[in-house]
Homo-oligomer: 334 residues x 2
Amino acid sequence: MPQLRKDPITGRWVIIAPERADRPHAIVRMRPEENGEPCPFCPGNESMTPPELLVHRPIGGAANGPGWTLRVVPNKFPALRVESQMFRRGQGPYDLLAGIGAHEVIIETAEHARQLHEQGAAQIHHVLAAFQSRMLDLVRDERLRHIVFFKNSGPAAGATLPHPHSQLVALPMVPGETRLEMDAAARHFAEKERCIFCDVIDHEMHQRERVVLETESFVALSPWAARTPFELALLPKEHRSQFEAAGSHELSGLAEALRLVLRKLDRALERPAVNLWLHTLPLREPRSPSYHWHLEIKPVISLQGGFEWASGFTINPTPPEEAAAFLRQTEVPA
Amino acid sequence: MPQLRKDPITGRWVIIAPERADRPHAIVRMRPEENGEPCPFCPGNESMTPPELLVHRPIGGAANGPGWTLRVVPNKFPALRVESQMFRRGQGPYDLLAGIGAHEVIIETAEHARQLHEQGAAQIHHVLAAFQSRMLDLVRDERLRHIVFFKNSGPAAGATLPHPHSQLVALPMVPGETRLEMDAAARHFAEKERCIFCDVIDHEMHQRERVVLETESFVALSPWAARTPFELALLPKEHRSQFEAAGSHELSGLAEALRLVLRKLDRALERPAVNLWLHTLPLREPRSPSYHWHLEIKPVISLQGGFEWASGFTINPTPPEEAAAFLRQTEVPA
């Protein structure tokens, strides 16, 4: 049974998830070879995953059989479980919470070797819409407070399977990173009645030095205090606080901008491993004038070491202005 | 010139250090082969490092020549520099600070292939004392506020050179992690007039389930909310807030306990890469009844992925109780 435990000093929560240790390749392997085992995310191997929660079958076909172009399934080795009984408990000086939640995998395509950035914008749109649709389903579980959408691509990014996929984890609390951003944004709004993200976007679009690309409705930035080389943020230019409220036109614009950014990174950095994730408001939080959803994208160029763990500081050897200039110049075929 | 930049939303500081990109192997390489180049940390190659700041020469010999058993030198590719002019500046909506500081390397031994845990306790004592001595020298620079001591061992831990070494980074501000621990400890003390670390030690030493080992004056724990498999904390059993005030007898006890812990990890996990770091009070901070210095030790078993970056949460597949039991049972030859 997974547990959520709170560190009594730092206040940080940790998911203790013993079942995750059972999955193959759970232990770090820096350059995993293909091991000849069948891919659980490939067509024909649907029985290797739990039954699908959502599926695209443009030409029809039976559930949990081939013919699909995108599937969402529960993670076979979940960090958290919907079926748990909710409890909160003290244990000596410590705090403990049932490992309630959900952990799902979005199998982005039936094509084992075609990465997300090699897809057309329409397929990327389907992936984003699939997450949004799962979010709108999970929000009905009142125990869940927040959903994290993320993608690990490549072994150095923590991916244990090469078949293109992203994941979502639904949590019974709002994670520290989201709380930190929301609180800072609320303070800025209280003082200035403006969204701090909108302020940053305005400044950057005027100043241009850290702008990687701009489309009709999105802008990709190399942030002023990028923690790692080529870390990027992708934001809607208009103020938007809830990802789940994005309409089809917005998702389509996001898909096109994300595709461009990922293709630039892939070309400029020669097929790097990449982490990406979404920051949006917690579930059932009312629309906010101060918070602004965005994607964060981080190619894995350097490793976190003892200094970063010790201090919370990061050392970034690539000035964000140089990263942005390099990516602006990187041309990608349409 | 390195810069310290503050993220306008999260408030986190980042060191932008372009010179670090010049070092060999700065770009991630998951399984670096020995590349046949001479090791800059080996005897005879002293000219490959900047001149030594501290050295042990039990049998004498000229400065910056062979004959030493431990050397401290400035990092050739420093994240921060002592020689900078201090400034604080706003830049549009952003905050900027000169990259003042120091970045030094403790070459722990002349023996290229003998890792720290393979040394006797006396040599480990020398390493800890060398750091302490550098701390007492650097404290005289009033611009410096905090010193981080850390060690990355193995490529997966971020080490770019295999010769055993640890590092220190002196900063012109108190890092977020230290501030977080100090603030929480101060709140606990204000309420209970007790040190929260002492409370945790008492609870664990009574409960035993997460105790890895106990010596006369130190205890190693697998923390209640360990963020990664086999993360450990090593603490003095008596209340101590300032590492720089530790006497020779204490350092000797720490060296013996650290040696045991590292040997257990090495044997139990089959020579893992390891990060370790010290948490102690900032420079010139008066002795504190609420804060308690300690070492944190983290073998690199799993990678941080998008979920961890997105949320600040970590998923740990190894319950701390199991890690502690496994390490308690792991016997190491004296």
